[in-house]
Amino acid sequence: MARSATKAKPTSEKKPIERVEHEGLLDVRNLTTYFKLGVGDVKAVQDVSFTLQRGESLGLAGESGCGKTTAALSLLKLLPENGRIVSGDILFDGRNLAKRTEYGMSKIRWKEISIIFQGAMNALNPVKETGKQVAEPIQLHEGLSEKQAMVRVRELYDLVGINPKRVMDFPHQLSGGMRQRAMIAMSLACNPKLVIGDEPTTALDVMVQAQILELIARLRKELDLSFILISHDLSVMAETCDKGVVMYAGEVVESGTTTDIFNHATHPYTRQLIKAFPNIHEKREMVSSIKGDPPNLISPPAGCAFCPRCDERIASCETEHPGLTEVERGHFVRCVHAKARTMDGFVPGDEAAPDQEGV
């Protein structure tokens, strides 16, 4: 199966991989991240693979605690002290970030990959002027003086739609939406190749959410950004991203283009996730929520992780861990029913690793 096929990837090379062949900008292969806890390791991210081309956008979706934020933080190696990347490669622009030192990473961070955190009220330092915080990475990575950097900051503020006069405002003086705009301005400060948005709209009210999503979409078009959006809301992902990855309990359960995922959702989890959020374009329905809790990630279940909460479970779900199955071109699903639900007319070719295909 796809799982075993990808196991053979060269992950244990002694020499750090530099300059490998790559597809596109980012190629995450079999990323596995654990947190050490007194009781055991929390297997937060297991065997996650995806790719991203230049100018493309990818959405990572799932419930809180499913490992999507950890996956994103692993890209920048910003894990807390007890977290570590156990195996896997992160090939970014020809370099393997998984093998980089802390010093090496500090050259990548923000200059090449920047991140917009959830709820900018906490992501901005409350006792520092926002403009100075935006200027900080410019000074650091481009060696400019604060004065020169501030010129740039004003331009950025203009770009994201804040009055440039407000550069010397403190975070508490800005509204929630403006703080998030400032955060976006900060993420663009060093013209990064990749921007990660970690729930960039979650803490905002609906009107502002729409504005911020619009802003992101506009900036993506104008600046030709590569973008990873992390969200628990599939509809946001569908509207903003080209490709999507749905995660559950640290694993990829479904991946493909957002149209495929949204229109032909195959994994029971994805379907319930779609149902859990009302679609603003359709008539109002009762929002259903997914019953039960995600599994304990210290000792994940032997079979399918979603089994206890699944409406369509069969006997083998409890014991067998399903692999990823391709149900249509570039659309992979981790479910026993996947084979039966292959799209009409699609014949899975050779069992190629999914990460070498589109996703």
Partner: protein
């Protein structure tokens, strides 16, 4: 809120509290058991005519509300009556004791703040590391330790055994020194009491700073700073420490108000001629006029320190200015 309104409100608040505390001071020395006129006399003087005279001088024969008015008049004028152990006006006795206390407390506080906070920053930064475990447990022990006991140990070790420092007082009795020699002698006398005074606060500030740093490091902006590519040191000193300072500064300033307790102990143990020793001596001699004055000064010190803390907070934390 604009700056002026904030300051005016804080100052008014402080003035109101001072009035409250001074009134409490008035009440305190009247609700104590026994005749206040007797209390304001040295022990053993029971001659009725003396008591009567005392009653007159302190207006204790007047009704309560008049006494209250007189009390305020005297307090505002800075008159606290006569110290009966020294046979001098209380104001005079207190005035000459203020500077030694300020010197001791100032040096001690600066030392405790700097050392305690730096220790705390590193402990919080490398949480659960060897340094953290050692220094935090040390901090707990220092916090749990009675100040005066540590002072006695210091005397035992450095003054009695090693003879590096004198056992007490501010200068050698009967020795006239001038210039650098007198400064040197002062420093020598100051070292042990100031160190003793500071040591309890070192533990406290260490623990506060550590827990504050740990809290701030969990904030998202610390992660943002790391994501920006800042080095660990830059994250710590530029983003984490300024935020972690806020609660610590408040507590340092509030403690500064409560220095009287520390000063009483350190000064009594080392015979340092400050307000603390004065209040200890007057307590022993039941010299109530002096105790009353010292009590008022100590209370006002707390209120003023709180006011300064509020003002400092205004400049340190921009959120207050909103």
């Amino acid at each position: 809120m604009d700056k002026r309104r904030y300051f005016i409100r804080k100052v008014l608040n402080a003035v109101l509290t001072i009035i409250l505390v001074a009134s409490f001071n008035f009440a305190l020395f009247r609700i104590l058991p026994g005749d206040p006129a007797r209390l304001l006399l040295p022990k053993g003087k029971t001659d009725p005519s003396v008591i009567e005279k005392q009653r007159k001088t302190f207006n204790l024969d007047k009704p309560m509300w008049q006494q209250f008015v007189y009390y305020w008049r005297d307090t505002v004028r800075g008159e606290f009556g006569m110290s009966f152990s020294e046979k001098r006006p209380v104001t005079e006795v207190v005035a000459e004791r203020i500077w030694p206390t300020v010197l001791l407390v100032g040096v001690g506080t600066v030392f405790a703040t700097v050392v305690g906070m730096i220790m705390g920053v590193f402990a919080g930064w490398r949480r659960n590391g060897t340094y953290d475990i050692v220094s935090t447990n040390l901090g707990m022990v220092l916090y749990a330790m009675p100040t005066f006991w540590f002072g006695l140990l210091m005397i035992m070790l450095f003054a009695t055994k090693l003879r590096w420092f004198p056992t007490g007082r501010m200068e050698e009795p009967g020795v006239e020194l001038s210039g650098f020699a007198s400064f040197q002698s002062l420093m020598k006398h100051l070292f042990l009491p100031a160190f003793t005074f500071a040591i309890a606060y070192v533990g406290e500030y260490h623990l506060i700073m550590r827990s504050s740093i740990t809290g701030v490091m969990k904030e998202d902006f610390a992660l943002t700073a790391r994501a920006k590519g800042l080095s660990e040191n830059a994250v710590l000193w530029r983003h984490v420490v300024p935020n972690a300072m806020l609660p610590t500064v408040t507590i340092v300033m509030m403690n500064l108000g409560f220095v009287m307790s520390g000063a009483i102990l350190a000064e009594s143990v080392f015979n340092w001629p400050g307000l603390g020793l004065l209040s200890y001596d007057s307590m022993q001699k039941r010299d109530y006029p002096v105790m009353q004055a010292v009590f008022l000064i100590a209370s006002i010190a707390v209120i003023v320190a709180n006011l300064i803390a509020d003002i400092m907070y205004y400049y340190l934390d921009p959120r207050v200015q909103a």
